[in-house]
């Protein structure tokens, strides 16, 4: 026969165990997983768990980590309630880690989750989040290359009229008639800038024409590498036109590497040498208007072109002709009629078609609540 | 006459510009200035801080853009020193901001008799913008172990009770570039640091989205913002002077454009 006291004891134990089991169930972080963080260099592990129900009284989470067979240690600070992920970026290569997520309640009691399966940080060779970027890049490259080869096969390619480029010959002609020089400014850009390369190609075309007329062509440079390449470009143009003696290396020189000192120097050249034509082609910053206004004040024909969109308003206000943004790149194709430039110009137009298509399709999809395109274009680091 | 007016010598325009800038400098006057809401918000926020709290100013402008941002730094610091609020100066974007920050801090401190190390401190510049912002969120001393003149941070009295952003009531970013975005992304989003900005006129319009979402608690825009703040603390200074002069130059340019167009139309009608 069981005594009353024993009954009481059993009941108590049952109640206690049920209540602790109940509280464990509700408060212990569930579904805790630790995985190697995808698309990283292998220096972190991501721990995730399910959000606790609202009335469990959890005030925060503490992550505990065990390296291989070592001891459990607390890592990081106490995470606020409502957190469901933690990225452990203080791991060492090759070690194996297991984690426990400890929930802390308002009464400062703690409940631990189960230990996760062991995990190791590994670096990935390809960032899957950048797949779209990679494919678009390949597609665009293929389009450009295909169009260039198409153009090289002798197919006629149309280029629309670019106002300002017709003025190039007029400007050079005027300088020759007046017996004055031509000033060519390539802007502040280094050799890696697209605008600088486009500008050098245009300069090559201008130099071909000045070689024939023997008009002095003055090129002050701000970048030493550009200086060296420009000398080669102009020299080649003169040789190609059969006037190697007319080439004077001293007309292409280094002025200084500092923006406003450069502007001061070029301004000085303008007012003293009074060139009849000034070309301002390349990438520019605040000095754009200093140059363009001074050029205007001496009455030179000015043809500007830049992809620095902030400086375009000033060129438009102060110069006779301005190539806007991509027009500067297109000018190389227009002037040289080189199939390489013509073809890639056409490829770029296909790129624009693609962009326009994406915008129109994207807007239509977004309005109907589908966000494929915006997800595809998501910024990935 | 109109033909002459149309092809006026540019030097006459230069003289007008010079006069419009010099005259107000010699005979100061003041145009009415309404305090805009973003400025008022910043003022109210700082005004409500208890004495003894600390704000941080990030000086992120260079020698080519200080005329607009420096008066803001002066006005806000005057307000802080009057209220007993301490100021920490840092620079995360330009190395040449440090001498500029030093100069304005010393000026205001001399005027308000604030003591270096107790009422204000200039920590200087550290490279790696986002890492500096993130690093200070964990521990300021991990990024700045010393101030700009190499005094150890442990020897600076006012830094004793400050470990990270938890003790900073506000970050004011005086910017001429894109540093505000960095402070919002890394300072506000990650550490819940309260951020306000004071920016040059050219980049003001980029700030409005952050103001709308509340990521910025206040905004000073160019000379105008500085002038408005000076009005609120009742201490007209370079900002007020600047906005008055700048207003005149703007009006001059608009006037010139109008005159030029009148001359142009009259001329064209005569030709027809």
């Amino acid at each position: 026969m069981i005594k009353t006291t024993q009954w009481v004891a059993i009941c108590l134990v049952l109640c206690l165990s049920v209540s602790t089991a109940f509280s464990q169930e509700s408060a212990a972080p569930s579904n805790v997983t630790a995985v190697d963080t995808p698309n990283d260099d292998g220096s972190s592990i991501t721990i995730k768990w399910d959000a606790a129900a609202e009335d469990t009284g959890i005030s925060g989470y503490q992550i505990l980590r065990q390296i291989a067979d070592g001891d459990l240690e607390e890592i990081g600070e106490l995470l606020p309630a409502g957190t469901t992920t933690y990225v452990d970026s203080a791991i060492e290569k090759g070690n194996i880690y297991t984690y426990i997520v400890r929930a802390t309640t308002e009464t400062e009691a703690t409940v631990d989750s189960e230990q996760t399966i062991p995990v190791k940080g590994t670096g990935e060779w390809f960032h899957t989040g950048k797949t779209a970027l990679f494919i678009v890049m390949l597609l665009f490259s293929a389009t450009i290359v295909w169009n260039i080869y198409d153009a090289r096969s002798g197919k006629e390619i149309f280029v629309r009229r670019i106002p300002g480029l017709e003025a190039v010959d007029e400007a050079i002609g005027r300088a020759t008639e007046m017996g004055r020089s031509i000033l060519y400014v390539l802007g502040l850009g280094s050799i890696g800038r697209v605008a600088t390369i486009a500008s050098m190609t245009i300069l090559g075309q201008v130099a071909r024409r000045t070689a024939d007329y023997e008009t002095p062509l003055r090129v002050p440079c701000i970048d030493p590498i550009v200086l060296n390449v420009v000398r080669e470009v102009v020299k080649t143009s003169y040789i190609d036109e059969g006037h190697p003696d007319a080439y004077n290396e001293e007309n292409i020189f280094y002025l200084t590497g500092s923006q406003f000192a450069y502007a001061a120097g070029v301004d000085g050249m303008m007012v003293r040498e009074k060139p009849a034509a000034i070309f301002l082609q390349g990438s520019f910053a605040a000095e754009s208007l200093i140059l363009a206004e001074t050029g205007n004040s001496i009455g030179a024909i000015q043809i500007a072109g830049t992809d620095s969109e902030h400086q375009l308003p000033f060129f438009i206000a102060a110069c006779d002709y301005t190539l806007i943004g991509e027009e500067l790149y297109a000018a190389t194709a227009y002037l040289s009629k080189d199939p390489m430039f013509l073809g890639s110009l056409k490829g770029q137009d296909w790129g624009k078609v693609l962009i326009l298509g994406m915008i129109v399709l994207g807007v239509a999809l977004e309005i109907s609540g589908i966000n494929w395109i915006t997800t595809l274009l998501q910024q990935v680091n | 006459m109109f033909e002459k007016l149309m092809n006026i010598d540019r030097r006459i325009i230069f003289i007008f510009v010079a006069l419009v800038v010099i005259i107000p400098m010699l005979f100061p006057f003041s145009l009415p200035l309404n305090v805009s809401e973003p400025t008022q918000k910043l003022y109210d926020y700082i005004d409500a801080l208890p004495a003894g709290s600390t704000i941080m100013i990030s000086f992120d402008y260079g020698p080519s853009s200080f005329p607009e941002t420096e008066p803001m730094a002066a006005a806000v610091m005057k307000h802080c020193f009057d209220k007993g609020i301490k100021v920490i100066g840092v620079a995360v974007a330009y190395i040449d901001a440090v001498p500029l920050a030093d100069r304005v801090m010393q000026q205001v401190a001399a005027e308000k008799e604030a003591v270096y190390g107790e009422d204000y401190v200039l920590l200087g510049y550290r490279p790696g913008e986002e890492y500096v912002i993130l690093g200070m969120g964990a521990e300021i001393a991990s990024v700045y172990d010393s101030d700009f003149s190499a005094t150890s941070i442990t020897e600076i009295p006012m830094m004793q009770n400050i470990t990270n952003y938890d003790q900073i009531s506000l970050l004011l970013n005086l910017a001429a570039g894109s540093s505000v975005e960095g402070w919002i992304t890394y300072g506000h989003t990650k550490f819940n640091l309260k951020i306000a900005a004071g920016v040059t006129g050219v980049i003001v319009s980029q700030m409005y989205p952050y103001l709308q979402t509340g990521q910025l608690v206040g905004l000073l825009s160019g000379f105008r913002g500085a002038g408005e703040y000076e009005k609120l603390i009742k201490a007209p200074g370079d900002g007020t002077k600047g906005i008055n002069t700048a207003s005149l130059v703007h009006l001059l340019i608009i006037g010139l454009v109008v005159i030029g167009n009148i001359a142009f139309f009259v001329q064209r009608q005569r030709e027809e």
Binding site: E124, L289, I324 | F14, I243, I253
Partner: protein, 207 residues
């Protein structure tokens, strides 16, 4: 040797930089950082060449007594002063800082401030309502200018600064987007041409 090898090198380095961009692995990232740093190592060497050309240019001017040749001495004097003050004990030296703050910075800042004059004269000359496009240009410029100063709000209560903000956020932003999209397509296509060795103008022509 003169043309092929450089083009092959250009291709190899270009491809490596593209691939590392898509690869988060520690080895790729280390490669990326190392190579991206090279430009900084190289630039001092290139600069030596630039200084040599500068000295040659001005030396020739002095020797040939070209017009204003005397000023070339000023160039040398300025350069030597900075080098003498800065090279032996570094840019922290007070003499270097003094020269920088009292001579170079004021001149630099003054050059920059010339823009205030030029912006006025350019506006006067160019903002004429000759065509529809020119009218748009001038009207938006005037509205934005009015919106930037408190006088605008006095003349046109509340509307001036709102109108300015709207113009900057809407038509201005979409125009800039259009330009940026076009420009970056051009930039990418040029980079592709360079890596593939189709564009060679930067080699300066010749064989």
């Amino acid at each position: 040797m003169k043309q092929k090898v450089p083009l092959v090198l250009c291709f190899l380095f270009g491809i490596v930089m593209i691939l590392t961009e898509f690869s988060p692995h520690a080895a790729s990232q280390a490669t990326y950082k190392e190579i991206a740093n090279w430009g900084r190592v190289i630039s001092p060497f290139v600069f030596v060449l630039a200084v040599v050309t500068l000295i040659q240019t001005h030396w020739n001017r002095i020797q040939r007594r070209t017009e204003h040749w005397q000023y070339s001495f000023v160039v040398f004097a300025g350069m030597l002063a900075m080098v003498a003050a800065g090279v032996p004990s570094g840019p922290q030296h007070p003499a270097f800082a003094w020269l920088f703050n009292n001579v170079q910075v004021p001149m630099d800042a003054t050059m920059f401030s010339l823009l205030a004059f030029f912006i006025a004269s350019a506006a006067y000359r160019a903002f004429r309502a000759r065509t529809f496009e020119a009218t748009l240009l001038l009207v938006t410029a005037v509205i934005v200018m009015l919106g930037n100063v408190p006088v605008g709000d006095l003349l046109w209560p509340d509307a001036a600064s709102n109108a300015r903000q709207w113009i900057l956020d809407n038509p201005n932003l979409s125009a800039r987007r259009g330009i940026i999209l076009g420009v970056s397509l051009g930039a990418i296509s040029q980079s592709i041409r360079i890596i593939l060795g189709i564009e060679r103008s930067y080699l300066g022509g010749g064989d």
